[in-house]
């Protein structure tokens, strides 16, 4: 009785997924609290990216449910899931290579390009509002001068930053990041950490996969440990650090 009165913000329920024989997800279940930063860690091949692909609607699970804001989104198409408020960053930077930084960011802000009204341009006041949002989001990241550069001309670290900015600009209530600081220099890692912490201050919810344990533990409220397709431990960074099950999973038994 008490359960159904809770607002189910984000819940993964018993997800199973296999690929031609191998089982990637075996009964993965957990829930995220609104306004927190949750990090999923775990050894390679644990199924973390597969889980994110299932959440984003890029893969269909064999069974199980994903509930977001009380809605069952398990079988929804990726674009529908995005519009419900899930913003996603992939493992490798995926900007639109041949478009400018500005265009990449505008794509996150515009949401009805295919309607007749906007066929040849957005109304002036909307365009101005978007420009302000974009320039303020790039401040402090050393990217303001790159706003009209073509995305593939940026360095990898810069691309990563722009991608995260884009995901933040996209209207969302949960931000899902797959290894945001992978392959990125230390200075940029700090910038990304600041961006994520600031988002949390603004009330945003973040779920991410991270292999870099230091980075993960420096931002996480909750840590989930995944191994062999399911969650094997959950808790604060400190409790996880000393958790025997986790240590066994990482170093084998």
């Amino acid at each position: 009785m008490a359960k159904s009165s809770y607002n189910k913000f984000f819940e993964i329920n018993d997800i199973h997924k296999h690929f031609s024989g191998a089982k990637a997800l075996s009964g993965c279940s957990f829930a995220i609290k609104k306004g927190t930063i949750s990090v999923i860690i775990g050894p390679n091949g644990a199924g973390k990216s597969t889980l994110f692909n299932v959440i984003s609607g890029l893969l269909r699970p064999d069974s199980g449910k994903i509930i977001f804001n009380n809605t069952d989104i398990t079988k929804n198409a990726p674009e529908k899931i995005a519009r419900l408020g899930i913003s996603r960053v992939f493992q490798k930077a995926r900007l639109f290579d041949n478009l400018t930084v500005r265009d990449n960011l505008l794509l996150a802000l515009n949401n009805n390009e295919t309607s007749m009204a906007n066929l040849f341009g957005v109304p002036k006041n909307v365009a101005q509002k978007h420009m302000l949002e974009i320039s303020s989001s790039l401040e402090g990241l050393g990217l303001t001068s790159s706003i009209d550069k073509i995305a593939r001309d940026l360095s990898y670290g810069q691309q990563r930053l722009v991608e995260i900015v884009r995901a933040i600009l996209f209207p969302h209530s949960i931000l899902i990041l797959d290894e945001p600081v992978n392959g990125v220099a230390q200075k940029l890692k700090d910038k990304i950490r600041d961006m994520l912490l600031r988002q949390k201050e603004l009330g945003d919810t973040i779920l991410m996969i991270e292999h870099n344990i230091d980075f993960a533990f420096s931002v996480a409220d909750t840590v989930f440990v995944m191994d062999k397709g399911k969650i094997i431990a959950k808790g604060s960074p400190t409790s996880i650090r000393n958790n025997k099950t986790v240590i066994d999973a990482y170093f084998g038994n």
Binding site: F19, S20, S49, N53, L58, L59, F90, D178
Partner: protein, 293 residues
Amino acid sequence: MVFQIIINSLITGSIYSLIASSFSLIYSTCKFVNLGHGAAISIGAYLLFYSLQTLHLSFPVSILVAITSSVLLGLLMNQFFYKNLRKRKVSNAILLVASFALLVLFESIIQIIFGSDIHIVELSKHVQVFQFYGAKITAVQISVLVTTLILFIILTFFFRRSKIGREMRAVADNKEVAELNGISIEKTYRTSFILGSIIAGICAIFVGLEYNISPAMGSKLIMKGFIGSIIGGIGSVPGSIIGSLLLGIAENLSVLFLPSSYKDVVVFALLLIFLLFRPQGILGIKREETEKC
């Protein structure tokens, strides 16, 4: 009457299955659609004709010339163009465009050298016809059926037993794993082109003997081969054989219900239907839509 249709279907189907299987062989190993394969057929047919009628070489020698020319052209396309493009990791769509350009290029060169006339290859003035339950079948047609059957039996053994055959299947299944097991990918590609072109050459000989030789024959035949592969399952050589037989049956059956010129419409309508509703064909495996994110 029914029997005649069955015979005709088998013959058409056999020839199509020769094209389709060689085409599918290249597709399953190299994983792209090689429209240029049509040119390999064209050149085999034209050189058969040229050797026989102009150079007056003996039939066995002409066959050899024809098949060799098909293999040489196929190899040329692979070594000079596809290998180069593969190194640059272009997409499948670009390889398709390149293969289309190669098809048109070589067909045009053939047309310039040999002219636009339609040629018929005559082995002998006297055509031997057999009667079979009220249906007629010629000696050439019998040899088509027999050769095709023998060829496929040989191919089956080749793929199951021989080292090269198994290597080709390994590359077709999973390129990365095959490479880790020490198989040379480029060598396997080259072998599949050689093998596919040999079959193309054999097919060219039958087309030359049974039908006729015209400048656009390559494009027309490769489309039929491609359609047969799609119907049967493009990654699968047995599938393409079945698909081609079905195609041959469909073509010959349609003559019963529609004017014969509508044959092409039926054939391409079939292609569209399969590509849109069952792209993996009858036997093919559905590709898992895994995105490496």
